[in-house]
Structures are given as structure tokens and as C-alpha cells.
Amino acid sequence: MSEKVLMKGNEAIAEAAIRSGCRYYLGYPITPQTEVAAYMAKRMPKIGGTFLQAESEISAVNMVYGVASTGKRCMTSSSSPGISLKCEGLSYLAACDLPSVIVNVQRGGPGLGGIQPSQSDYFQATKGSGHGDFRMIVLAPSSVQEMADLTSLAFDLADKHRMPSMILADGTIGQMMEPVELAEDMHETKYEKPWACTGTQLKREHNIINSLILKPEILEQLNLERYEKYKIVEREETRFEEFMMDDAEICIVAFGIASRVAKSAIMEARKQGVKVGLIRPITLWPFPEAPIRAAADRVKSFISVELSMGQLIYDVRLASQCKKPVHLCNRVGGMITSPDYVLNKIMEVNGLGGAL
């Protein structure tokens, strides 16, 4: 590891991308992720890379499609409303199995919403980022250090499994400043890309990147094969953190900024004698079902702490197979749950002793 620096979360994403060999950034500004673009604009010209501010988000994501088709590492970033505009492109990226990294620094919605932090794009990121059957690997950083680390991982997993991967952050982690240790330059990918459109040199057949498959038998087969690949991703790439779960009677599930607040609340609740722990999904897809399923046999109840109207809670219920009640603790619209707010919920749920 190199020297420690003080960075904004958004800057950490940009610098980590560069160190992962990303030399193409295609974006369009939007609060609260604009620092990713601003940082790339300053750095890319100095290292022979391309910073391109497209005329729109739709244009930017289709430029990603173009660059990714050549096998080069590339990235685009936006915030919630901008990601909605990119969704058509995400479907095409998935349909063509193109490794690419998409960053969503979420803000309050729906619509234009606001510019303060949110996690209300959880459904969109994990279940419906566009039409058709597809998945993206979705990584949820909870610190500036993880903004850097998970960005590197996103590039690696995208290449490894030939699929788009998304960093699902939020405005607070994007804007906050923390000390970071950045990995040394990794440069290019270690994965071969024989499918990339790099010119045949008259030595091989043309590679074609295309999502229009008019024969239903073939389109079905491609979908089945892609879902076989997703099974491998589910098996190999699920990541999570357990915090004070050994003796926990209440299990909080939270990711990103909400998990940080939850940890503060857990420490306080423990001081007051309440046994509460945390399962923090680091990959939102694949979702860490196994630890939640296991916890369901041990704990009395779950609390889903999230900055949305109850989205994560559905996956907690599914993973726990509804064996125990799952309570919701949330703020929305750009508001953040305070540690006290979560603590109150913990105390309320503790008082119920496993009842609904």
C-alpha cells in the first residue's frame, strides 16, 4: 500500500479507477457525484487517458458500450436521476456481456428529488436496472476507503465474469472526507478478452457485439447460459460483514451509510445491555442470503435500517424465510437516520421480544 491521503469519497472512486487501469471516463455532471467527473477531468489528460463529458447521460452510457466492446476498462458515474437515464444502456451492456463499471452516488427521489443522500435506488440497482432478464454485480461501500477498494474490485469482477458491475454509494459517502490508503497501480486486467473488437489483423473471424437476437431458440439459450454464469457469481462473489453477531438476539441488516449509523447505535444499545448485531451486505447482488438465513434460527427479530421506504427489507424477509419478524427503521428524501433514531427502534423491538 502507498501513503495515506485525505480524500472525498467521490475522488477515491476516481483515483481507484485510474489505478485499476481505467483510461476512459465517460460522464455527465450531477450532484452529489460531480467530483468523480471533476477529478477525472484533471487527471486523465495527464496520464494519456480520456475524460469525456458527453452531451447527456444516455450518450455517456452508450460510449461506455463502445469502449467496453474493445475490451478496455471504462467507467461512467451519475446520481439517481442520471442512472435512470442510463438504464437502457445498462440492459444493452448486460445483453452483450460487456465488462463495465457504473457508479451511482444516490440522492433522494423519485423524479429529480433532491441532492441529499438516499438509498432508494436499491430496487433499481439489484432488480430492475433495465428491461429484460439480467443482473449486475452491485457493491455497496460504507467508507471512503471502501469507495476505493470496491471500485478496484468492481473492475476486477466485471472482467472476471464479463458483466457490468455497479458501485451503489450515496451522497454522504461521496462527499465525506476520510483518510485512505490507495493500492499501487494495477494497470491492465489479468483476464483475456478474446471476444473484444480489436481488429482481426486478418487472423481471425470478426468479433461482433450485438444484442439483437431474433431467433427465440437462440435468445432463450443465451439467457439460460447467462443465468448459469450468475449462479457462479452468487457462489463465488457474495461478500458481507458481520458485526457483534455472536450472541445477538436482534440482527440489524444495513448497508452503506446506514450501516455506519447502525454500528454507532449497536455500541450504545450494547452499553444498555441489549444484544444486537449487524449483518452488512457488501455485495447487494449477489445478496448474502446464507448468513441471514443462519441468523434467522438464532435471533428473535431483524431490523432493516435503510434510507428508503422499505426496499432492502424485502430481501431480508426472503433470506430469513420469514422465520422471524423484520422491522423497518428508515428515513427518506435526503434525511439520514441518526444513531439515536436507530437506538430507539432497537429498544422498541427489544421490548417486543420477538413478537411482531
Partner: protein, 221 residues
């Protein structure tokens, strides 16, 4: 202990710590018995602004001049009309928190003629060696020149605010002294102060000249 001017302008690289210093400098002036106003000229940063300290300012009797949209859900690079009182009402000592980089400094332009005419100001360059885009004097001076070109004013002194957030130790600050001195040598600007969080001040007070102790803005998380 520190020289004071009627107007103190804080500018520098994005994220160099201008806002925290603005808050603490305003408090310092207030403790010196001055009438003080703080003006938030930051049109770049959507979160973490001087307005976060609104309650403290009220308690200290410091006037806050800030966009009604700061820290709200409205994403407008707006400036409050009361900003003109900073240059017009000379009964106040004013601290102006300028936005980061040259982009932030453009907003200062319209006030510059009056500030120069009154000639009772200092424009402080806030620097942090541990920011990834300003690790040395060359890169720091590049940003300094971009800011000067944007706001059409020259810096008068340096504030060495080198820190690593919560990981800052006394050694972190000591290790930045050489960097600050080089920036000073190459720019010809004096180092007005070196800052450190209060918890480190005891350890540093005999080792660093013109140490300015900071109380950090409170954080939610």
C-alpha cells in the same frame, strides 16, 4: 497573537479545509472582541458548509451570511444578497469562505474592486499536503495560480492545514512543515499559521510557530 484584517478571505484547493478554518477564525476574532460576520461564498460544495455551524454562530454572536439554499435540496449556485454588506458595512470583521479551486473563486470576482479599494484584507491560501492532487509545492502552486487568475486577487499568506482527518497525529502535522516552507519559498508568501486539532495542540505548541488550534465542526456520523 495573530495579525487581523477587516476582511479575511479563505481560498484553496477543494477539500483543503477552508470551512473549518473559517469557523475557527471567526471565533478567534469574536474572542478578540470584534463584531464578526461569516460569509459562505461556496457555490461548489453541496454538503458540509459553514451553515452546519449555524447554531454555534448564534451562540457566539456571529452573523452568518449564507445562501438560503445551502444544505437544502435545491441545487443552485446562488449567493445571498447580504453578501454586499461584507464590503459595505465596515463595522464588522468578515470572514469569507470561498469555494474550492478556481471554479469556487470565480464567485469572488464581483467583490474584488471594493476589497482592493478598502485595502484592509488578507487572502489566505489554505493548503493540505495530504490531499492527493496537492502533494508537493509544484501542484499546490498550480492551483494557487488558477485561483488567483479566477478571482483577480493575489494571495497574501499561507495557512498550512495539512491533516489526515481522524488519523492525524502530531507527527502528521510535523511532517508537513517542510512542504509548507517550500510552498512559502516558491510563492514568496509567508506562512500565517499552521493548524492542528485541539487534541494535538499540547504536543505541538513548542514545536511549531504560529500554531492555530482548531475545534472541528461536529459530524453526524
Amino acid at each position: 497573537m495573530f495579525d487581523t484584517k477587516r476582511i479575511t478571505l479563505l481560498a484553496g484547493h477543494y477539500g483543503s479545509g477552508k470551512t473549518n478554518i473559517a469557523v475557527n477564525w471567526a471565533k478567534y476574532l469574536r474572542d478578540e472582541g470584534k463584531r464578526v460576520s461569516v460569509a459562505d461564498l461556496d457555490i461548489v460544495n453541496p454538503y458540509f458548509r459553514t451553515k452546519d455551524s449555524a447554531a454555534d454562530f448564534e451562540e457566539w454572536g456571529i452573523k452568518l451570511i449564507s445562501s438560503p439554499y445551502a444544505n437544502s435540496n435545491v441545487d443552485l449556485p446562488s449567493l445571498p444578497k447580504e453578501l454586499y454588506s461584507v464590503v459595505d458595512d465596515k463595522s464588522f470583521y468578515s470572514v469569507i469562505d470561498v469555494g474550492g479551486d478556481d471554479r469556487g473563486a470565480y464567485a469572488l470576482g464581483r467583490f474584488v474592486p471594493k476589497i482592493l479599494e478598502e485595502n484592509n484584507y488578507e487572502l489566505l491560501l489554505v493548503i493540505n499536503k495530504y490531499r492527493p492532487l496537492t502533494p508537493d509545492s509544484t501542484t499546490t502552486l498550480e492551483i494557487m495560480k488558477e485561483i488567483e487568475a479566477a478571482c483577480r486577487m493575489k494571495f497574501t499568506a499561507i495557512v498550512n492545514n495539512s491533516n489526515l482527518g481522524r488519523d492525524t497525529t502530531a507527527q502528521t502535522v510535523l511532517d508537513s512543515v517542510g512542504y509548507a516552507e517550500e510552498v512559502s519559498r516558491e510563492s514568496g508568501l509567508p506562512i500565517k499559521m499552521t493548524t492542528a486539532e485541539k487534541r494535538l495542540c499540547g504536543e505541538l505548541k513548542d514545536k511549531i510557530d504560529n500554531l492555530f488550534c482548531l475545534t472541528l465542526q461536529s459530524k453526524l456520523i
